[in-house]
């Protein structure tokens, strides 16, 4: 790994494939140290009879439950339902948040007109919309997707607006000196300049999307990971609740990882202190 970087001191992305996988593998393993240790400790404590397993079942039992759910195909159904809801809600919320954020970030008049109202709406706890959404959109998918979209919208909107408003004046001036039209300035200067902040905004948006899908599914669903949670509570199956929680963690992590991996090629230009680490 180190000789690979020494060979090509000035090149980006020139590390051999194998070396990159080695780096990725190492950091992946380091990330596993804490959760695996905690799991083993708890399992050990359970085996030694140090903890009561009625309310907090040992990892082995949770994974057995998870495995059973997977084998019967039940898990796939629930994961797909949740993923679909988050995907739709996230797409909708992020898209509208991006549009309005770009508008209010780029135009002072649009900000004066729209931002006060949007900030007031943001102050409403999003769950307060639930009764209204159910009344308007019914108890099935539409109301759930609407709720998730509302949750995703605000971090994306705020992030994009702040990022555009904070683009370095000096960089914008380069665009002006080259007489770019307003549209060309947005396309060639503002959008690339905010890309790193935009990615952070949609990542936090996706996080809130998962938060709200749980809320939506707890309040009434016949499938989805949130339904598994409620079902586990009502039937007194803590192992099922924990299995659903683990599935949420994995799903959320994969979603976030996808955003990071898919956008990485567009950020190779960044000059950050952690480059190459």
């Amino acid at each position: 790994m180190s000789e690979a970087t020494l060979d090509t001191p000035n090149q980006t992305n020139a590390q051999p494939q194998a070396a990159r996988f080695a780096v990725f593998g190492t950091s992946f393993l380091i990330g596993l140290v804490l959760p695996v240790t905690a799991t083993l400790l708890y399992e050990g404590a359970f085996r030694l009879g140090l903890v009561q397993a009625r309310l907090l079942p040992p990892p082995s039992r949770i994974f057995t439950t998870l495995w059973t759910l997977a084998k019967t195909g039940e898990l796939t159904t629930h994961v797909l339902a949740t993923t679909w809801r988050v995907g739709m809600g996230f797409g909708l919320g992020a898209f509208i948040g991006m549009l309005l954020g770009a508008l209010t970030g780029a135009s002072r008049n649009a900000r004066r007109l729209l931002d006060p109202m949007l900030q007031a709406l943001r102050a409403i706890p999003s769950l307060a919309w639930v009764p209204l959404f159910i009344l308007w959109l019914g108890i099935f998918e539409s109301s759930k997707i609407a709720l998730i979209a509302v949750g995703v919208f605000f971090p994306v909107y705020l992030g994009v607006m702040a990022a555009i408003a904070n683009v370095d004046r000096k960089i914008v001036e380069v665009g002006r000196a080259f007489r770019l039209s307003r549209l060309a300035l947005v396309r060639r200067v503002l959008l690339p300049a905010i890309l790193p902040d935009f990615i952070i905004a949609i990542r936090s948006g996706l996080g809130l999307g998962f938060m709200f899908v749980v809320a939506a599914e707890i309040m009434g669903a016949s499938e989805g990971l949130g339904y598994l949670l409620v079902d586990g509570q009502q039937l007194g199956k803590p192992d099922q609740i924990l299995a659903a929680i683990i599935a949420f963690a994995v799903l959320g992590k994969i979603g976030d990882w996808l955003i990071v991996v898919l956008t990485k090629p567009f950020l190779t230009w960044q000059d950050t202190h952690q480059r190459g680490a």
């Binding site: 000035n10 980006t12 000096k170 960089i171 001036e173 380069v174 002006r176 000196a177 080259f178 007489r179 060309a184 060639r188 200067v189 690339p192 300049a193 890309l195 190779t268 230009w269 960044q270 000059d271």
Partner: protein, 262 residues
């Protein structure tokens, strides 16, 4: 070619940055705007570039009043201001969007060759040194072949050796198309090395204090007696601009508060 008529600039907070600046710059001439900090030399350059509007008076290029950045005027900033998400080559062709791709590539390759950066086209700006970045920034402004190039203290952040090299680079680039150059600097040596005329500005508010022709043949020998003499002339004027009231306003009383209490 460039004409400034009774230019004034007062900022909204009441600060008078420039007062009654009138100046003509001929085509192909190199003019250095010299002055201490706060004399408004950068403001003057920004008004010529069209990035800032004068409060009164006007700037024109070939008789055409400048209201906004003009296609015939290129601009080089104090910092290189390369766009970090574009490669070096893409940065240079930033102003060439209207040209066919082949023509863009040809101009970029030629430009890189001219400033000794052939083969650097695919690098990112973060991989360049300060001097390399500023060379890219100069050719980015020159590839559009402007009639006038404005430079705002372009070498002030570089070490002395790099600075001298880049001044030579600039002169070599200027030789081909001979655009008009207006260069803001606080470095007297730089002004004498490059310019046909040094305009010394006086601060608070910014006015023209002296207009000193520098009639030395090129290439200039920085160690010659003539060079030293020209430097002495500009330095004396610069000292005077800081320490004395404006000679063009004889009625005005000298006040130490206006600067110059040494």
């Amino acid at each position: 070619m460039l004409t400034m008529e009774t230019l004034c600039k007062t900022y909204p907070n009441g600060t008078k940055a420039l007062e009654q600046i009138s100046l003509n710059v001929d085509a192909g001439e190199i003019v250095a705007l010299v002055g201490g900090s706060g004399c408004g030399k950068t403001t003057l350059l920004r008004m010529i570039s069209g990035l800032e509007a004068p409060s009164r008076g006007h700037v024109a290029i070939d008789g055409e009043t400048i209201h906004a950045p003009h296609p015939a005027i290129g601009l080089v900033f104090q910092e290189a201001r390369l766009l970090p998400w574009l490669t070096v080559a893409e940065n240079i062709s930033f102003g060439l969007d209207d040209l066919p791709k082949a023509e863009q590539d040809a101009r970029v390759d030629e430009a890189l060759l001219r400033v000794g950066l052939a083969g650097y086209g695919k690098r990112w700006p973060r991989e360049l040194s300060g001097g390399q970045a500023q060379r890219v920034s100069i050719v980015r402004a020159l590839v559009t072949q402007p009639k006038a190039l404005l430079l705002d203290e372009p070498f002030s952040a570089l070490d002395a050796l790099t600075r001298e090299k880049l001044q030579d680079h600039l002169l070599a680039l200027w030789e081909t198309h001979r655009p008009t150059l207006v260069l803001v600097t606080h470095d007297v040596e730089e002004a004498v090395a490059l310019a046909d005329r040094a305009i010394v500005l006086q601060p608070k508010p910014g006015r023209i204090f002296a207009d000193i022709p520098i009639d030395l043949p090129r290439p200039r020998d920085r160690l010659s007696a003539e060079f030293a003499e020209a430097k002495r002339l500009v330095l004396t004027a610069l000292d005077g601009s800081i320490n004395q009231p404006n000679p063009h306003q004889p009625g005005k009383v000298y006040s130490p508060a206006a600067g110059g209490s040494f």
